[in-house]
Symmetry: C2
Subunit: 322 residues, 2 copies
């Protein structure tokens, strides 16, 4: 499979270049440490899925303005800021194969540069001619992401149900994707009904994305992940493959899993149980289901390059290995 | 001296009650931990100086709308959020005599609840009918506060000059006060020239406030401070009383101070040197100078209750002992 991300990046090349310009402008600070750390953060970004989704969604409705690159940049900044705070919270040493900001400069710097990026996300969104609605969605999604993380912390010592897990996934990941596609549509003044469809696409895309992300922690090598695997097990984060084993195992296996989860969480005990019950395969099949649901939202749209790309992107997200 | 804060709180009682209502509404979250921690944060607030300044500034221009309480709440939320992040950064155990959120719930919860408050600060400001200019000032001041903190970190191992110190004080503290009074004036549609005067009042007020705060770390008892004193010395934060000793001492004293500051920073060596050179008295005289400059900005305003209160508040800030 040719990498659909490369193809989309080429299709959106001028727009992504504008996003990079906006990001660069944000680092224009009097404070050397802000410039240094900010540059590092922006140079270690990932696949730029959030700006890509926002801008593709705008192009579904033939948006021809300039504001979509600013809104896409704002969404990318919100994402980068939350990753920075997440890495402090998880005491993560690596992200995408490179030292995290907290590992390299300390928690204080990571917290502050994230706050700086948050402020600039809102500033950038404000600098557009878009409606207060756009801004209000960005604020809402940021608050919801915090609530998702707080709910995860609240449940840290509990055995998560599947509903709890999905609530966390929506909060931590899917609402932001949903905001991306919804905002693209809103920018292009799409009718309310179509905004809802794009929003639902993003939500389902995001759930698929996060479920796959959680399986990668179990199956990818450290090299593919760019960070130590089994981190979720070690951090006591219950994800779908393990929840599935809790749901389907019984007798000795369930007893062993429960005891192990509550005491030390040894991956050498947990991983074989996931394998025995096919937890990863099950989770991936669920991810595929959410990705299909994402695509179905677009079924009634006239076929176009961006609609086609959004659908292929949803498939790609399930097949990816990093 | 009758407590001017109480008098102002009584003058602004209906407005402050609305601020409390707005704050309460923000805690209306589905996530129990958000409600619990949020309530704790809001119940351990301080003197509410920022909303007070914003609302007094609006009243200088006879503002009669409703938006000033929302903007004042947003500013208070930005302040609360930055305190939460500061306490994580400083690993502070106490604030105003109570355990900090990081001490009680952990760094993760403190970081996230602060992000939650930030988001709601912007949401609340957005929900007003005010101009994008107001929102943009809130974003700018938030970014500047991060830059101030980052500059302090960048200079952590250096011997701060007075200019460096003042840059940090403006960034960490004074710009937010300046935004408060400027926004109050802008809300009331004050002419540009008067907005500048109110902005300058807030900036000078904020510098005076922070200089006094820094002296309290040296002279107040733990009880008065509500947190362990000499914390700045222990954390390696150079403040005006010590910078003054660096500037004025010579020979043996300067050598001793320099060596001690670079190695271990024993308060039992540093505090007597500050006393010998009158560092605290000097810093307080500087604070008084900034407070006077704050009041001078208002000299040409027709005398009114809010103008009078702003002036007395600047004096109070220098005389306070907690």
């Amino acid at each position: 499979m040719a990498n659909v991300i490369d193809e989309i990046a080429s299709y959106l090349a001028p727009d992504l270049a504008r996003v990079d310009e906006h990001l660069g402008e944000i680092l224009d600070s009097d404070t050397a440490l802000v410039r240094e750390v900010g540059k590092y953060v922006l140079s270690t970004r990932g696949k730029r899925l959030r700006p890509i989704l926002a801008m593709l969604a705008a192009k579904v409705f033939k948006y021809a303005g300039e504001d979509h690159t600013k809104v896409a940049t704002a969404l990318e900044l919100v994402h980068s800021a939350t990753l920075l705070h997440d890495d402090v919270i998880d005491k993560a040493p690596l992200r995408r194969g490179k030292p995290t900001v907290n590992a390299r400069w300390g928690d204080d710097v990571a917290i502050l540069i994230a706050d700086y990026l948050f402020s600039h996300a809102f500033s950038l969104a404000l600098s557009t001619s878009v409606s207060p609605k756009v801004l209000s969605i960005i604020c809402q999604v940021t608050a919801r992401m915090c609530e998702g993380e707080m709910f995860q912390i609240e449940k840290r010592k509990a055995l998560l149900t599947r509903d709890d897990y999905l609530r966390i996934v929506r909060g931590k990941t899917a609402y932001l994707f949903s905001a991306c596609t919804a905002l693209g549509a809103i920018l292009a003044r799409a009718p309310e009904q179509q905004v809802m469809l794009l929003s639902a696409y993003g939500l389902n895309f995001g759930i698929a994305f996060q479920i796959v992300d959680d399986t990668l922690d179990l199956i990818a090598s450290d090299d593919e992940m760019g960070k130590p695997h089994w981190a979720d097990i070690r951090n006591g984060k219950l994800t779908l493959p393990i929840i599935y084993v809790f749901e389907t195992a019984s007798g000795k296996d369930l007893k062993q899993l429960t005891e192990c989860w509550e005491n030390g969480r040894d991956p050498d005990v947990i991983v074989p149980l996931i394998e025995k019950y096919g937890g990863v395969q099950y989770a991936l099949s669920e991810a595929r289901r959410y990705a299909s649901t994402a695509c179905e939202q677009l079924a009634d749209f006239p076929l176009s390059e961006p609609v086609n790309m959004l659908c292929r992107l949803a498939d790609f997200v399930v097949e990816r290995r990093n």
